[in-house]
């Protein structure tokens, strides 16, 4: 029998179509998020202000009566925060999808390797000892968090002996042990640091408030680089999640590939945790949901998770800053509150469509 042309082309078209739809949804979410807040700005004007900033298409976008005030609010206040949400959401969801594949375990999330505890310790030290900052527009907290998480990542890597040949289980265990050690140190520091306790707690819950372009600039290069590496490795990930032997039989040397994938996803996680704190659930639930809808092929799953993670966190953050305005809810609370029920909704719908 000749290959079925319908199956063949449908198989490829599915990939392209899903990514295009997700990208459109992402832009829609960003535009809506930019319009919502203490001052509500009509969507058309938001779109006009935002898209005129994009080179090449700017000359086709009409300037519809957008006042300068709107422009300042959108570009100076809301846009950096939205961009940060896209970067962090994408990073966490991408890293989560990767680690679930790497460990062949759908329960893995970006924090499983102890990176978040390193970042948390760094942030706690910076907050409670009020470390001075060396970079304009950036407090010492994200810098300290980033350095500490990179140090943690390195420590876990070498303690597990990954430079030799070691199972993923050893690596996971090493991450868990290092992480509980760091949490203990952190709790001790928190205990001694009476007045900055609230600030530390806010950081731990994950928040995108009071962030500017400096944070975007800090996180983007690492996230961008790491995600690119992961996208290139997507095919290897398909084979690795079937086990080391299978991967080797299909032509992928599992050890070096796993090392690269692990380091890239750690870097991505470290960069995003440093600027956003520990925002839970994104890295677990977004890849899961995407997998249920689009299937487990990492060549589609990874890019789709990155974009969907962006959509999810932009939306969650918009709710976080508007629900009880002028106060803010830590976005990590929203992601968990919204994420869990949504996850079950998708799970149920899938079950029903199967039967």
């Amino acid at each position: 029998m000749k290959p079925d042309p319908v199956t063949h082309s449908a198989y490829r078209a599915k990939r392209k179509k899903s990514l295009v739809i997700l990208t459109i949804l992402l832009f829609a979410a960003m535009v809506i998020a930019a319009g919502v807040g203490a001052v509500t700005i009509p969507i058309a004007e938001v779109a006009s202000i935002l898209f005129r900033r994009i080179p090449y298409i700017s000359k086709y976008i009409p300037n519809i009566g957008a006042q300068d005030v709107y422009e300042t609010i959108i570009l100076e206040v809301r846009l950096p925060r939205i961009l940060l949400a896209v970067i962090i959401g994408g990073a966490l969801a991408g890293a989560g999808a990767t680690l679930q594949g790497l460990f062949g375990n759908p329960l893995a999330d970006p924090y499983i390797m102890g990176i978040s505890s390193g970042a948390a310790l760094g942030a706690t030290i910076a907050i409670s000892y009020k470390l001075p900052s060396f970079f304009p527009g950036l407090s010492s907290v994200p810098i300290a968090a980033f350095l500490a998480s990179i140090a943690t990542m390195t420590a876990v890597y070498f303690l597990a002996g990954v430079s030799g040949r070691v199972s993923m289980d050893t690596y996971l265990l090493s991450g868990v042990v290092v992480s509980s050690f760091l949490w203990a140190v952190m709790s001790f520091i928190m205990m001694l640091s009476g007045d900055s306790l609230r600030e530390i707690m806010m950081w731990l819950m994950g928040s995108l408030s009071n962030k500017g372009y400096a944070h975007v600039k800090m996180a983007f290069p690492y996230v961008g680089f790491g995600i690119s590496v992961l996208l290139v490795m997507a095919r290897d990930l398909n084979l690795i999640c079937l086990g080391d032997d299978e991967a080797r039989h299909l032509g992928v040397d599992p050890e070096p590939a796993k090392r690269i994938i692990m380091l890239a996803s750690s870097l991505v996680t470290a960069a995003s945790v440093s600027v956003g704190g520990i925002i839970g659930f994104v890295g677990l639930i977004v890849p899961h949901t995407v997998r249920m809808v689009l299937g487990p092929d990492h060549r589609l799953l990874l890019p789709a998770s990155v974009i969907a993670g962006g959509i999810f966190l932009v939306s969650a953050d918009t709710v976080a800053r508007t629900l009880i305005a002028p106060s803010e809810i830590p976005v990590g609370v929203i992601t968990a509150l919204v994420g869990a029920p949504f996850f079950f909704y998708v799970l149920r719908r899938r079950k029903m469509s199967e039967s």
């Binding site: 000749k2 290959p3 032509g251 299937g295």
Partner: protein
């Protein structure tokens, strides 16, 4: 295409798993490897694929040392079908078989129409085309094994290594799958090296048999040379009667249970 192992040894720490084993496999041959549990069959197979580096000796794939070759190059020539492993995610059958094309594709390229043709031909050969869109997790063990075989065929290998590929299958599936392998040696001139548990099955399908015991090769040759009462006794420690298969003509083993001991003792097999 040919695969040669010369005096291969492999140890796990101080335990010798493979001890000075030499073998060769040529295109179109079906060679069975037999041996009790823990006799080093699977370890030998892993040394042959280059996954384990032999402590001594060498494995040559078309004259090239296999553990120095890039895994991708090895995978273009050797495909492996083992017992079903754990599959964590619901890959579709098509996606699964498509993975067989990985060794032939450049890193960022998409599968070409030719790749698709090969994939569908492989699915056709093992009869899983109608399952293409189904999740492998929803399939029965036998169906899943046929998917894995299709994936191996999609690799377009010259050599197929099998590690007890039929051990959990019922007789129907088992014969069906063994027939697929046998026909590959005829139609596609693929060399098949199969680690098998079932002595009778190995005898029916193999051109040559190799018997391992405690890491050592204790017998090699035609089925009639390897499947004998004496070897069954010395390797497996069982009392056996060997008879000719009435249709195929190869030796078949009938095991004699312990409780019947006294009565069979005096009787001698006719051939």
């Amino acid at each position: 295409m040919r695969l040669d192992a010369f005096s291969v040894c492999y140890n796990y720490d101080i335990i010798t798993a493979v001890d000075n084993v030499s073998l060769s496999l040529e295109s179109g041959e079906f060679v069975g490897i037999l041996g009790p549990n823990g006799s080093g069959k699977t370890t030998l197979l892993r040394v042959l694929t280059g996954a384990l580096k032999p402590w001594a000796g060498t494995v040559l794939l078309d004259g090239e040392e296999v553990h120095k070759m890039r895994p991708k190059l090895v995978a273009q020539k050797i495909a492996v079908v083992a017992q079903n492993g754990y599959i964590p995610f619901p890959f579709s059958v098509l996606e699964m078989v498509m993975m067989g094309r990985e060794p032939h594709m450049a890193r960022l390229s998409r599968e070409s129409p030719q790749d698709m043709d090969i994939v569908f031909e492989a699915m056709e050969a093992t009869g899983v085309t109608h399952l293409a869109e189904r999740s492998v997790l929803d399939l029965s063990y036998g169906e899943r094994q046929r998917v894995v075989i299709a994936r191996a065929l999609a690799q377009e290998p010259g050599i197929l290594l099998l590690d007890e590929p039929t051990s959990h299958l019922d007789p129907g599936y088992r014969m069906e799958i063994m027939d697929i392998f046998k026909s590959l040696t005829r139609r596609k001139n693929i060399g098949v090296l199969a680690v098998l548990h079932d002595v009778n099955l190995a005898s029916v399908y193999s051109d040559r048999l190799i018997m391992l015991n405690r890491g050592k090769k204790v017998a090699e040759g035609l089925p009639w040379e390897v499947v004998t009462k004496e070897i069954m006794k010395s390797v497996y420690g069982v009392r056996a009667v060997v008879r000719k298969h009435p249709v195929v003509g190869c030796p078949q083993v009938m095991l004699v249970p312990g409780f019947i001991d006294g009565r069979v003792e005096g009787e001698s097999p006719k051939d």
